[in-house]
């Protein structure tokens, strides 16, 4: 088995004929490129950390701002598990008439850092002089509104068409960061308007309550959990009992395939390298009189020669020792004399 893996590793990491970069380095480069490509791709299609979460366009008796005024508001939510600074983000509102009004979230205010799974509330009061969270935007309480959120790179990360709402009713995600939007404003616990708090209030641990009700004696948990523990370790057992050999064979197969794939690429790199060398040679021909070429050739020849010389020297030495009988004659008896040192001295030991 060790031989297989050694062979495999050697095949993967054997320097390619292209000289400079080894196959291993090339493979590493290839993998890193793939990872980079994949992550770029993810970033483009991925969802943002901050989303629009709830909008209230007509505020009569709802939440008041710091000035004691009832104004329309827009809530954003950091759905990630890390703090996000929304300084430089843009909040845009379009209500069907005129231009889209864009508010740049100011930089330099520590309050723009939204903690994990927390909210920030922006007042759509058209009074940006009142503070970071008072925007130049206003919401149309009669018609609908389009609200967009752009990141500090100017990329649209979230948008929502807010329908016409009754007074003190909000248009909100069913739960924080949920994809479903609903109108909230009733007396039902799931339809409260919730500025700066969770859209759905969690009052109990459903999992624990379920266990307390349905599995009061713990037998269900014991059976389920023991099944999972056994399953996990049985899978591990099967993997090592039955699948190890096929796995190694598979690895070998993959290695061969990679090697086959790399061959044409190696050829391509060799060709590219030769082409570049040729170009440089032409450029330098007039000035250096083919000095580079000669040096390169000399170096490679000297390297080969030095290796060959070492081999010849080793063979000559072996022949000399054999023919002239100059080997040491050893008794074959190994004697170890006990001696005291700091390593075995009892008084220096940590324990008795």
């Amino acid at each position: 088995m060790r031989n297989i893996i050694h062979k495999m590793m050697r095949k993967v990491f054997t320097p390619l004929p292209c000289g400079g970069a080894g196959g291993g380095s090339f493979l590493l480069l290839l993998i890193l490129s793939l990872v980079g490509f994949t992550s770029c791709n993810n970033q483009e299609n991925g969802t943002s950390k901050v989303v629009l979460n709830e909008v209230l366009s007509l505020n009569k008796n709802n939440f008041q701002d710091d000035y004691g005024v009832h104004n329309a508001w827009i809530e954003v939510f950091n759905k990630s598990y890390g703090t996000v600074d929304i300084a430089g983000y843009k909040l845009a509102v379009y209500n069907g008439t005129g231009d889209t009004v864009i508010y740049n979230v100011p930089k330099g205010d520590v309050l723009t850092k939204i903690k994990p799974r927390q909210h920030a509330l922006f007042w759509a009061d058209g009074e940006p002089n009142r503070g970071t969270f008072h925007t130049i935007c206003t919401l149309d309480s009669i018609g609908g509104n389009w609200v967009g959120l752009y990141d500090n790179g100017g990329k649209l990360i979230d948008e929502i068409e807010v329908p016409t709402l009754e007074a003190d009713h909000s248009y909100a995600r069913l739960d924080d960061a949920n994809s479903k939007w609903v109108v909230k404003g009733g007396d039902n616990a799931s339809s409260y308007v919730t500025p700066s708090t969770n859209n759905m209030t969690i009052e109990k641990n459903e999992k624990q309550e379920k266990f307390a009700q349905q599995d009061a004696d713990g037998v269900g948990m014991a059976i389920t959990a023991m099944s999972v523990v056994f399953m996990g370790l049985i899978i591990l057992y099967i993997s090592f009992r039955l699948l190890l050999k096929p796995l190694l064979t598979f690895l070998q197969w993959i290695t061969n395939k990679v090697q086959l794939l790399l061959k044409p690429l190696a050829g391509f790199f060799q060709w590219t390298k030769n082409a570049i060398v040729c170009i440089f040679k032409r450029k330098d021909r007039n000035n250096k009189n083919n000095l580079t070429e000669t040096m390169t050739e000399n170096q490679s020849i000297s390297k080969t020669e030095s290796k060959e010389e070492e081999v010849y020297a080793a063979i000559a030495m072996a022949l000399h020792e054999e023919m002239n009988n100059v080997h040491d004659i050893e008794s074959g008896i190994l004697t170890i004399n006990r001696c005291t040192s700091a390593w075995n001295a009892k008084h220096l030991m940590l324990r008795k």
């Binding site: 037998v219 023991m226 591990l236």
Partner: protein, 386 residues
């Protein structure tokens, strides 16, 4: 002059109110005695000295009485105090995974790889956890508390701390001390159960020498182990991830320095911090409750159940195994993950009956399987109850 003497007298009286003597309660004294008992066990009996010395001394530190209203900010439960900062590693749960990193870097999984069916003993012994869970539920603990208490049966201190910090932070001190105490008492708890459940013939049973495991298998094991167990129970990732990572550092053969750091200075540092802070968390006011007494009782029960289920499982397993592949039931106790203590118990009890029957190598298989099993079990409890 009289006023000055009065002033001095008041100062001394004030000072007296700050001293431990003025603030001592019977609870503090009881806990100090418990701490001294732990230190005695460690020094005189050599029961898990690496754990009991830090924990025992930590109990002394945590139970020095002081005037909490004086704003000294020295108590472990006072936010911002030095002890409280050190305790963050326990409450936030990052000490246990680092301990697991060290355990991984010092564990040799060869016995398990050469005889993978020993994994099943490690799984069976986890019944100690779920048996204790059922009893805790019957006593009236909430499911999350029952889960946190039950993990004591895994005989795995870091796992117990990790899980209790998530499921029942208020019980963590009692659970941690209970788990480590019973781990130290493995040589007392397990042998009578093993003797009681096995026959003379079974104890003399010899097992075939395990085959030599190749370097490739050792390298593949932590990778495959991580992928399989964590895909099944992702909530066990902090513990299992670090365990297998530490093992790969050891087995890869190319990260010798990292492995040595993980199994040497790093695990020693974390053990010191973990032991002292867990010990210090047993402040009498927080620790001496009826719940703590129940937790200690349940902890003992869970150890007994785990040992029993491990030994009985081997006996049952032998019924379906061919004769030449049968397992000595004395290694069944090693399914609890007190590494390597429970494996050493198998060896010692085996040697009592046959001085040439060395079971240590075989017992290490279920023992390390127990480490994996208890981390998986913790992941399951976390997934279900968090």
């Amino acid at each position: 002059m009289g006023e000055f003497i009065n002033f001095l007298g008041n100062n001394l009286a004030d000072f007296w109110t700050y001293t431990g003597f003025a603030n001592a309660t019977p609870g503090h004294l009881i806990m100090i005695l418990v701490g001294l008992f732990f230190i005695y066990l460690a020094v005189a009996k050599e029961f898990e000295p690496m754990l009991l010395i830090p924990i025992g001394f930590g109990i002394l530190i945590g139970n020095i009485p002081f005037n909490t209203e004086a704003g000294l900010n020295v108590g472990i439960y006072e936010e911002g105090s030095v002890l409280n900062i050190l305790y963050q590693g326990v409450t936030s749960g990052w000490y246990p995974p680092l301990i697991f990193l060290g355990i991984g870097a010092m564990t040799d999984f060869s016995a398990l790889i050469s005889n993978p069916k020993l994994l099943l003993i490690g799984a069976a012994a986890q019944f100690g956890i779920f048996g204790a869970y059922m009893i805790a539920m019957a006593i009236g603990f909430e499911p999350s508390e029952a889960g946190a208490i039950a993990i004591i049966g895994g005989a795995d201190g870091p796992t117990a701390i990790f899980l209790s910090s998530k499921l029942a932070p208020s019980l963590m001190g009692a659970i941690a001390v209970s788990a480590y105490s019973y781990m130290a008492l493995v040589p007392v708890i397990q042998p009578p159960i093993m003797r009681m459940l096995t026959t003379e013939k079974e104890r003399l049973m010899r097992m075939p020498t395990p085959r030599k495991v190749s370097h490739t298998e050792k390298v593949i094991f932590p990778i495959v182990g991580l992928l399989l167990t964590c895909f099944l129970v992702p909530s066990g990732l902090p513990l299992l991830g670090m365990l297998f990572f530490g093992n790969l550092l050891k087995e890869s053969g190319v990260t010798r320095r990292l492995a040595e750091t993980a199994r040497g200075p790093l695990i020693d540092t974390i053990t010191i911090l973990l032991g002292v802070t867990v010990g210090a968390s047993t402040q009498a006011s927080e620790f001496l409750t009826m719940d703590s007494v129940l937790i200690f009782a349940l902890g003992a029960l869970s150890f007994i159940i785990a040992t029993t289920s491990g030994v009985l499982f081997v006996k049952l397993f032998n019924l379906i195994l061919p004769k030449h592949k049968r397992i000595n039931p004395l290694i069944g106790n090693a399914g609890v993950s007190a590494v390597p203590d429970s494996a050493r118990i198998s060896q010692n009890v085996g040697l009592e009956y046959d001085p040439t029957n060395y079971l240590l190598m075989h017992a290490m298989g279920p023992n390390v399987a127990g480490v994996i099993g208890s981390a998986v079990a913790a992941g399951i409890l976390l997934g279900f109850l968090m």
